[in-house]
């Protein structure tokens, strides 16, 4: 097909999430000020939306920030609720956001920690801090292709092991790779070969 595909997006793809800065009169919770004091440069940006606090942490400070958030008495985020990613392909500063939903069973407060990374940029694994991250990081690797360094067992988890591509990326078609690869027969043959071999085994 030479002409533009029918399903071309009608609006330009968004270049990033909306991260409104907290209003000037908002009281910053103690766990954020504690993190700012303990890890210099650990908080690149702060955001407050619908009552949820988000701290944006540079990838280089991830482990130090995570360690502090878990261990400091006024943070005590001992529970990793969720770990996921979002994909913003056109964004200049790196296409992925890796998001950590943290909860403290002692203080009963929540915070979101966010790290922005590029397509081929590895990120330190937090499995040493929260063992719960093991499968969650595997899922992010499976769906987005984010590489976590230091992960004990980084394999696909939901998709078959020989799967090509990362399904939750925005440039991955909803119908799967079939039609895409039909236009590129060499890749398609490779995929079929890999599948046949997996069957024989």
């Amino acid at each position: 097909m030479a002409e533009a595909p029918e399903h071309a997006p009608k609006v330009a793809a968004p270049t990033g999430p909306v991260e409104p800065a907290p209003p000037a009169d908002a009281a910053v919770p103690v766990f954020i000020t504690s993190l700012q004091n303990a890890v210099p440069g650990g908080v690149a940006q702060l955001s407050l939306y619908l009552g949820d606090w988000t701290v944006i942490v540079p990838a280089s400070h991830l482990l130090a920030a995570a360690q502090h958030l878990r261990d400091a008495a006024d943070c005590a985020f001992d529970y990793l609720s969720d770990l996921t990613a979002t994909d913003w392909p056109p964004r200049a500063e790196g296409r992925f956001d890796v998001i950590y939903m943290l909860y403290s069973t002692r203080h009963r407060h929540r915070v979101r920690m966010k790290v922005k990374i590029g397509e081929n940029q590895p990120l330190a694994s937090v499995t040493g801090i929260w063992p719960a991250a093991n499968w969650l990081e595997r899922e992010v690797f499976d769906m987005f292709g984010v590489n976590f360094t230091g992960h004990p067992d980084l394999r696909r988890i939901l998709m078959p092991e020989d799967w090509q591509g990362y399904p939750q990326r925005k440039d991955y078609p909803l119908e799967g790779p079939g039609e895409l690869l039909m236009e590129n027969p060499i890749d398609w043959l490779k995929l079929r070969q890999a599948r046949d071999e997996a069957d024989i085994e």
């Binding site: 609006v11 968004p14 999430p17 909306v18 409104p20 939306y49 619908l50 949820d52 001992d78 529970y79 990793l80 609720s81 969720d82 996921t84 979002t86 994909d87 998001i99 939903m101 069973t105 009963r108 929540r110 979101r112 929260w130 063992p131 719960a132 093991n134 499968w135 969650l136 769906m143 696909r156 988890i157 939901l158 998709m159 078959p160 399904p167 939750q168 991955y172 909803l174």
Partner: protein, 376 residues
Amino acid sequence: METPSTIHGAMFDTSELVINMGPQHPSTHGVLRVILRLDGEKVVDAEVVIGYLHRGIEKLSENRNWTQIILLTDRMDYVAAATSNVGYCETVEKLMQIDVPRRAKYIRTVLMELQRIASHCLWVGTHAMDIGAMTVFLYAFRERELILDLFEEFCGARLTYNSMRIGGLPQDIPPGWDKKVLAFCDIMDAKVDEYETLLTHNRIWLERTKGIGVIGGAEAAGLGLCGPALRGSGVARDVRKDEPYAAYDEMDFDVPVGVAGDTYDRYLVRMEEFRQSLRIIRQATEGIPEGPIVGKVPRLIKPAAGETYHAIESPKGELGYFIVSDGKSTNPYRFRVRPPSFCNLQALPRLVRGHLVADVVALIGSIDIVLGEVDR
């Protein structure tokens, strides 16, 4: 698969045996595959293989409009569909800052607690059957049927309800339905005691569950266990109490916690949850206020750009939704579910290590998984 190695130091040299359990195995409650490495009858290590039921609900949801997603959430935890529905609708309501009328909140609470009892009935039945007590299964399914009848009367469906709308409910409760719910509570009170007479002091049950899969509170929290599996280890974490949603802030109920963190305590916690759920249902049903059932919802559902995470307590544990809206299109930019079963299943290798093969079955039952939710 690695080649079996030989273990020295035992009285006899025994070689390690690798066996495969599932994906089609009656005790795995769906399509779950567990690869067990055994030394004699002891489990040395286990590897969990999932993904057999992966339908890409998250990806699919990013290509459906906001209302169409409600019925996809039915297909995650299909034995507690109403809870998933409420979780999703509340997240969108939070994102759009819609006020839900109190009547709708109360009816939602009743439905969610009925659903919790139905889910726990299924759990106690299958868990006991895995361990060898057949009778409980028949008893529990008898009562679950009563709840399904109530749901059928409310929304016409028995398994996948699609029973919520963003901003409220699709329809009001039928006349006389609340009386039937209260009548069910009276029946159920006696039935929970009946299950307990069959199991709680049963010698075989105690032998099979006490001291099996012990996990401490701090370790359980670190591993991401949630719901009754976490409370069995003594951590009083319940989203209904800690971050109240629906009408839970107006309800009076207790959060049962275990002490030992073994299979037996997880069982006791869920049995007590039956009673607490009945308590909540009675309060909520008797207190359903008059008023509208749907809040002020715009004709076109299109939240402003932004993101939010909202969690509720499903029968399995913390069910969270993380939704990102770009504010331009009529579908979510990112739709993420935090599935409680997935996070609980992650702890299975840790729990089974050192126990017998037969205990693996007891432990899979004890963490109460639904594969539709694990794989999504």
